[in-house]
Symmetry: C2
Subunit: 712 residues, 2 copies
């Protein structure tokens, strides 16, 4: 039995629709929770206004960008690709909007639910994350499958759909780079004047930048992370389908369909994992979606007995274990279902192993990240220890830890690539199959994205909930609960970053292979005339990009500082709590400066591949992409992990170690944490976008590149 490509695509479409159904049901559920007292609702609505101000401003700029690029694509390529580009951009923007919409409403509800209990708070916050996670995978899958079906029959069907990936990348650029600048500018700006100059605590409502800071958490970790992974998810499926079409065996249709099928069963697995955290038996039993699926309900019930034991006195480890089990549970389900998918597709059994390899690598990177950034482990404790001899040794130790932390992720990705290629090669006897296997491995890694992203996007909701609890002076035990939820979110955020960069590399590699196929490059000799210059320039790009984004944070934060100082100076009674700060002004400045500062680095990511491809030729462009991918991977992991480790070293000291808060060690740790902020939340994650965007631009314009001006 062998499934046709279109059958797989239709299954994927149906699963996407199922995912949307879940999203709508969950949305109703989350929004039905209590919003707390009036103070809480006021603060929440300020954050909501700020978020919507940012989004509407960003989407206006985006709309212009999308129109321009769509025009360029229509002019130089074809309208179908431009259409896919627009659909991709809208799908990603839609998922991001929905995620943000619910996140800035779930925060206050989480704070209110935390008044009842820890588990209740977790369920609201995680439910919000689940909406983001499932929106990303569903919108992406529906968008791609519908376009696939619309253009079915056309020989360029898959070529057009690369435009969808480009559209997704464009949104990711704005959300991740612009959002990254926004969140850190607001954070640093609020801290510099509030904590340092005025001596008021974090999340104090008197601070005019406090709302911008809270909006920033959502902008960076919900919308930014979501768009980043939307791009990886779409890119890996597109690349796999494109490379599947190039294998050129009688099973081609099955190869094209398989990535869609794996994504489709991934949605089921993710839903399973999500229910392990949020689902009450009652919910499951009464949900009209599931009423007729007794088997599903029974198996969820059976498993939940062993997994969903989150009680009021749960420690951080227990909460973490609960989230982790949901990801594991989803992984077990996907392994069973993807075996089914492989068998149904009628392709070689090796491809199931390939999916397994991707899943293991993804989880392996996440755990390695956790090891290097958690304050229960040696690396971060080493940084904490170094704070005793001052800021300089703290920085040196943190950088060394960040550099050291690249070893395991690189080895895991390298081994995953190697094994995938080998398995694919052994299955069909061609390198084309090997490259297809790499892409499929990326699809496998991302197949449970619905639930992994949920664990990640839950973090800023918990963080915001803590802020709201603080600002509205809720009882201490509520704040303790939101703090526990927040700590958990910090850990999942760190592992999420590791996962995001790992998947970005696999996706970029798959897209690169698709580019080489599409550009019809025969000779990719690493010592070819233009290859090494290409690689070197490519390796330089992440450094340039990081330098620009770090400086951008500095500039934007400076503007916030000036505005906050102005308000403290000019608004009477602000410090005494009688005057009302102008939150909107700070939100506006963060928004404007973030969008302005991202233009140059963003333009570089789009323009450099085009220039290199035309001037130095398509081989040099392949070199450029390899250089950017390898150098960017290393730099991104280094920055993200150094940042995470500094953050947690500071948190460790704040638990009372080495003199606790206010000690010299703490001051040194704060320096480390401040350096780490743009590392882990702006420059590091932005490199994921750089890597993928440069590659997808090259793929979309692949046919337009020649042999370059030097004419060897």
């Amino acid at each position: 039995m062998m499934l046709q490509a279109s059958a797989s695509v239709i299954i994927a479409l149906l699963m996407g629709i199922l995912g949307v159904g879940f999203v709508l049901w969950q949305l109703r559920r989350v929004l039905s929770y209590d919003q707390g007292n009036e103070t809480m609702r006021n603060i929440a609505s300020a954050i909501q206004e700020g978020a919507s101000a940012f989004l509407s401003r960003e989407y206006r700029v985006l709309a212009i960008f999308v129109v321009i690029v769509a025009t360029v694509i229509t002019t130089f390529l074809q309208w179908q690709t431009a259409l896919c580009f627009i659909v991709g951009a809208c799908a990603s923007a839609g998922a991001g909007y929905l995620g943000m919409y619910v996140a800035v409403r779930a925060n206050v509800r989480t704070a209110a639910a935390a008044s009842i209990g820890l588990h209740e708070g977790l369920r609201v916050a995680f439910g919000s994350g689940a909406i983001m996670g499932m929106s990303v995978v569903s919108f992406s899958l529906i968008g791609m499958t519908v376009l696939y079906l619309v253009f079915s029959g056309s020989p360029s069907q898959l070529t057009y759909i690369t435009g969808f990936g480009f559209g997704a990348s464009s949104i990711a650029l704005f959300a991740r780079v612009g959002g990254g600048i926004y969140t850190k500018a607001a954070d640093v700006g609020a801290d510099l004047v509030g904590k340092v100059e005025q001596g008021i605590p974090e999340d104090d409502p008197r601070n005019p930048a406090v709302i911008a800071d809270n909006v920033g958490d959502n902008v960076g970790d919900v919308a930014g992370m979501g768009a980043d992974l939307f791009e990886s998810y779409s890119g890996s499926i597109i690349a796999a389908a494109t490379l599947g079409a190039a294998i050129g065996q009688n099973t081609t249709a099955a190869f094209i369909g398989l990535p869609f099928l794996v994504a489709a069963v991934g949605i089921i697995s993710s839903l399973f994992g999500i229910f392990m955290v949020i689902g009450e038996e009652a919910d499951v039993a009464h949900s009209n979606i599931f009423t007729s699926h007794d088997l599903v309900i029974r198996s969820i019930r059976f498993l939940r007995k062993y997994v969903a034991v989150i009680d009021e006195n749960a420690t951080l480890e227990e909460l973490l274990a609960a989230l982790r089990r949901s990801v594991w549970g989803a992984s077990v389900v996907i392994l069973v279902l993807s075996l089914l998918a492989v068998l149904l597709s009628g392709v070689h059994f090796n491809y199931w192993l390939v999916i397994l390899v991707g899943l293991i690598a993804g989880n392996g990177i996440a755990y390695a990240t956790e090891y290097f950034t958690s304050y229960t482990e040696k690396p971060t404790l080493g940084i904490a220890n170094a704070t005793q001899t001052g800021a300089a040794t703290t920085i040196i130790q943190g950088l060394a830890v960040g550099m050291m932390s690249t070893v395991l992720p690189v080895l895991m990705v390298a081994v995953a690539i190697l094994l995938s290629i080998w398995l694919g090669y052994k299955a069909e006897g061609t390198m084309a199959a090997g490259l297809y296997a790499v892409a499929l491995s990326g699809v496998g890694m991302l197949s449970t994205l619905g639930v992994t992203l949920a664990t990640d996007a839950y973090g800023p909701v918990a963080d915001n909930a803590g802020g709201i609890a603080e600002m509205s002076h809720l009882p201490k035990e509520v704040r303790l609960r939101t703090d526990a939820l927040d700590s958990l979110g910090n850990t999942t955020a760190a592992t999420g970053k590791g996962f995001a960069i790992g998947s970005a590399v696999l996706t970029a590699l798959a897209l690169l292979a698709a580019y080489v196929t599409a550009a019809k490059i025969d000779d990719l000799n690493i010592l070819g005339p233009t290859m090494l210059p290409g690689i070197l320039i490519g390796a330089m790009m992440p450094y340039l990009f990081s330098a620009l984004t770090m400086m951008a944070v500095g500039k934007a934060a400076h503007e916030i500082v000036l505005e906050v100082r102005r308000q403290f100076r000019e608004i009477p009674g602000l410090m005494e709590g009688t005057g009302q700060p102008d939150y909107k002004a700070c939100v506006g400045i963060s928004t404007e400066s973030a969008l302005r500062e991202m233009i140059f680095p963003g333009a570089l990511a789009v323009v450099v591949p085009l220039v290199v491809g035309h001037v130095l030729g398509k081989e040099a462009l392949a070199g450029l992409l390899v250089g950017t991918m390898s150098s960017g991977f290393l730099l991104a992991v280094m920055m993200a992990n150094a940042g995470g480790a500094w953050d947690n070293a500071k948190k460790w000291i704040e638990t009372g170690q080495y003199g606790g808060k206010g000690s010299d060690a703490h001051k040194a740790a704060v320096v480390g944490d401040t350096v780490g902020d743009p590392f882990k939340d702006t420059s590091g994650p932005s490199l994921n976008i750089l890597i993928k965007l440069m590659t997808i631009v090259s793929l979309v314009f692949a046919t337009s590149f020649g042999s370059g001006w030097l004419n060897f």
Copy 2:
């Protein structure tokens, strides 16, 4: 007319002997200077003892290492390569020994000469640097040419000589990595206890680590830099000759001979440049080497009128201009003479342009480095400005400047590679010629090494002279003069580092091409099965290596701190100046810990290429080398320039800006400088060695690698 390869080699040998003649003459001249008063002589002899203690200890470890590796080479390859390996190690060690020998004797003479005047001090210190510079090029050239002649007639003649490069690399590993750890461990250790805990000034004779610190300057910047460039110089010539033999045209002999010929005329050019700084007309006229060369004397006299105007009131810019003119002068001479060499060799005119490209790229990188690290320019001033908002912004700004500073060097190297390949390709119509041209471009870049290294190795002598002036309480104007000389040395050290990394990349690339030829690799497809894993692992190596070396500095410095504290505690009257500190104990600890800490990173550099070559195959090894080269280049430039910029930002503040010494801005700048120390003096420069050593190991063992275990 066409020169035979052996004729070119003989000319190179003769020029090498001429260089040795200069070294001996200059040695007599420098040593004939006055050594100052008894205090000065005592301090100097403590430094001399410390240096010789370090060298003899290092050379003992080295001897064991060399014997082991030579045995391995004899067992798995052939005895001839092992012999060349030993000769290469001895030649590099000899040049390093001579350079150190004179540097630790010129320091006190420079201090004494500075009592007479600025120019007098410069001449002594620069004379010492010139001995290092000319020893490196002469010893390298004599060693290679003698081996070439000894093995002439053997078809594996050039293969054997790769062993010479490996020997040079081994010394460079010990000198650069071990020396880099030594110098910063002593520096940081001395500062932490002396300046911070005891509150005594820099270079205070009561500090037990002060001699180790002064020894360290020589170990790092004389022996370390010398061995690094000895390796690049030898490697580029070996690679060019090897690739020249592979072009396979009727001009093969000329291609092999040309790099030797360029190096030969480079010695003349370097001597010319050196005389522009140190030569009195009387010296030139009476020197028995030159008496019969009226033309040389006249042209030097003519040029000196325009160049050697260094008066007592010379500013830093004027001193810098004097040194710069000497490098320029040498460049002009090499361009004329290398044109002659190209014409004599009978090869295409394009090869002269290739040499020109290399020279321009080398100087271009040096100037770009200067721009990013000098406190008269915007980038460093930006860091100085960031010190006002604290240590964190100082670090962020410095890292951003370091990252930004990679752009120009990368573009210059990329363009140099591209143009060289293109010129070579156009000349012969084959890519083999293109790769030969890249190697030749590296030879061109390094052809004036005799003088560029002189400007560099002069720095630590001036630095030491300042320390001696301080410790022996010389009059203030002497200290001002040595400070001026020292500042100049800091600038040339920064540009020297840029030059060293640029040449390391070109050399490594040339060696890589030679490896690919030697390993008989046909298919180097960048999407080949093992290539990308190789590239990723390769890109990770510099991060691992840097993490290890940074941590090594921390550990070694910690041991020094404990010893210095012990001495202050246990030696009666030490703080009052009546007790005698045990300098040797600190020198011993620095030596032992540096040599111990370098073992693991050093072993990695040798073992990883062998493991990857055998397990993943020779193609993956090529990928590994490309990954290490590109990622290492970026990281090295970033670290070196960030370190240099932080250092100079601190110096700028110490001139009285932003509150001057002791202000909060200064404290933040000190944090930056301390982070920068291991960046610019240990980890950054060590990457040059990593890049070249991994490549030369691969080249030497090229024939032993197969297709790996996975068997595609």
